[in-house]
Each structure stands twice: as C-alpha cells, then as structure tokens.
C-alpha cells in the first residue's frame, strides 16, 4: 500500500486547491514558521477519521475550515482527499487505487467518501484497522508528543501499542 497524493482545499491555511505528490520514499517538508507545514499533517490525520479536536490543535471542529484573512473571505467548505495505491493488497478491497475523502460544511454537516461513494466513518475505520494508520496511530509523531509518550498521559502508550498488536 503506497501513499500517492494528498489534495487539500479550504482546510486551515490552505485556501487554494493544493496537491502534494508522494512518489519518493522519503519526502521532506520545509518552510518558514507558520507557513502551513503542520497543517498538512493535520489534514492527513483529519481525512483518516480523527475525531479529537486536541489532536488537530483546534478548539472546535469547525475551525478546520479556512477562516479568511484581511484580504480574503473565509471558506464555506473544507475538503481533503488522500489516495493510496493498493499494490500489495493490504487493504481489504479489490480496488487498485483507493481515495478517501472528508468534507466539512460551515453548516456543520460532514461527509466521508471512499472512491467517490459516500460512506460512514465506521467504514473508513474498518478499512484501515489492519494498517495501523487510523486514529491513535503510532505512525504520526510530532515533537510535542514525546513528553506525552514518556509520561504516559491518558495511557498514550497502551493505546498506541494496541494499534500495533
């Protein structure tokens, strides 16, 4: 299973439609402070089903929608789509490529899709369960988490270990 593309629009500081290609083994993301690097990682967590606002550095889930600047109005929709190539058949589906998308409207309505077909969050969770990249994943690590893992805040260690076991 290979990650191929990430498409972001209206999510946090990404007002414009932005596509990131992941064709190489190790991809570096660089840029000035506050430019939007961690927002890309938040977009990946969000599209894979993350429900906890604290994991996304938010006070409420509606704050993921681009909230505008001095020169631009805020957006009404936040949308992220992530595409995998199911080359080793790790995902329990016969599709060769798999696109998961998540959309949130200002009205509060949210929508999940798998390959363009609307589905529930439960369907995405059961699809990813064997891969280790659902919520509570051990595969996304930010510097701030080091203290949580070592002090085992909210049993962080056990939750991650259970993802791997």
């Amino acid at each position: 299973m290979k990650l191929t593309t990430l498409e972001i629009k209206g999510f946090k500081s990404f007002a414009n439609d932005t596509v990131v290609h992941f064709n190489e083994r190790v991809t570096g993301i660089v840029g000035p402070n506050g430019s939007g690097k961690s927002n890309i990682i938040d977009a990946i967590r969000w599209v894979l089903g993350e429900q906890k606002t604290s994991e996304l550095r938010l006070d409420s889930m509606s704050s993921v929608i681009f909230n505008g600047t001095k020169k631009r109005k805020g957006a009404n929709i936040a949308r992220v789509a992530i595409t995998f190539d199911n080359d080793r058949g790790l995902l329990p589906t016969e599709f060769q490529t798999l696109t998961i998308s998540r959309t949130l409207y200002r009205t509060g309505q949210s929508e999940y899709k798998i390959n363009g077909v609307t589905c529930r969050l439960k369907d995405i969770n059961s699809l990813l369960i064997e891969t280790g990249i659902g919520s509570d994943t051990y595969a996304i690590i930010a510097l701030g988490m080091v203290d949580d893992i070592l002090s085992d805040r909210d049993q962080a260690r056990r939750r991650m270990m259970e993802q791997a076991a």
């Binding site: 993301i29 690097k37 996304i140």
Partner: protein, 166 residues
C-alpha cells in the same frame, strides 16, 4: 486476546532494545515491562532507559535529546511489529545534536525500503538526506502555498531562501 497481547508485547520489547541500541550505543540498557504481568490487558506499561552507562534513573532525569530518542525508539518498535504504510515526523529532529541527527536519518533511510516517510524539518542535515523536498510558503498573508524544491539545485545558489527554508 491475552496470549495475543503478551506475544505482541514480547516482540515489541525485543524491537525496542534493538532500536534503542542503534540510536544510543551497544552497551546502553533499556527495557519495557508490564507493571502487573498477571493482568496484561489492563496493566500500565513501564519504560526503563539508561543511556551512557549511567545509574538506573527515572525518565524525568533524561536530557531533552535522550527523551526524544527513547520515545522514537519505542514508536519504531511498534512500527516494526506492524509496519504502517507511511510514517510522519513533525520536527522530531529539533532537540538532536548532529551525531544523533545522522543516526535518526539513517534509520529512516533503512525503514523507507518498506514504507514511505514524510519528515517536517528545519534541520539542514535532515534536508540533505531526504529524496524530495516540498517548500511551504505564504502565497499571500495567511494563505499557504506549496511547491517542490530540488535541494541539490538550490543548495549552492542559496535560492532556497525563497521558501525561507534553508
């Protein structure tokens, strides 16, 4: 469920010791154990780390860089049990000195044979060791933009300054 967890736990422990030793040195001691082994599904998981031949101590006494390496070693041991399709590190290399940056990047290179890695960093050593770089910048105040950057090309001309990333 109990047996499954205990077997997984023992494998994670073996991986933890391996990775910890490759990030520190061969003689360094570390371990993870279940506080109440008779109740594996509920028991808290304890970590012991003793880098550089030091006396047994609590995790609190470790330095900033040693804490980061210990936590990273534990997460890699979960990964080795069940390799995820991708792994993301967001400025995890910030507290590391140059020698540990090299070790950290070497491990990522080794594991990248199995999965993809995405590394957010300000460290030039890490930038030089990845395969491709995306520069994120503020297109207009408050709006993010993204463009691929060829580090090799910019390295000498200093052009990478345009994404403020060097």
């Amino acid at each position: 469920a109990k047996e499954r967890f205990v077997t997984a736990f023992e494998q994670i422990r073996a991986h933890f010791v391996d990775v910890f030793r490759s990030l520190f040195t061969e003689e360094d001691f570390c371990d993870i154990f279940l506080e109440n082994p008779e109740d594996p599904l509920e028991s808290p998981i304890q970590i012991v780390a003793r880098p550089k031949g030091k006396r047994p101590q609590t995790l609190q006494q470790l330095s900033g860089g040693e804490k980061t390496l210990t936590a990273t070693a534990l997460l890699f041991s979960f990964y080795l049990l069940k390799p995820a399709p991708f792994c993301i590190f967001d400025e995890v290399d910030a507290p590391l000195d140059d020698a540990n940056i090299e070790k950290f990047n070497k491990i990522i290179k080794n594991f990248s044979l199995n999965s993809q890695f995405i590394v957010v960093t300000h460290n030039k050593g890490t930038m030089a060791s990845v395969d491709v770089i995306y520069g994120v910048y503020m297109d207009e105040p408050g709006v993010s933009g993204l463009s691929p950057v060829d580090f090799r090309k910019f390295k000498h001309s200093g052009m990478i300054e345009t994404v403020g990333a060097s």
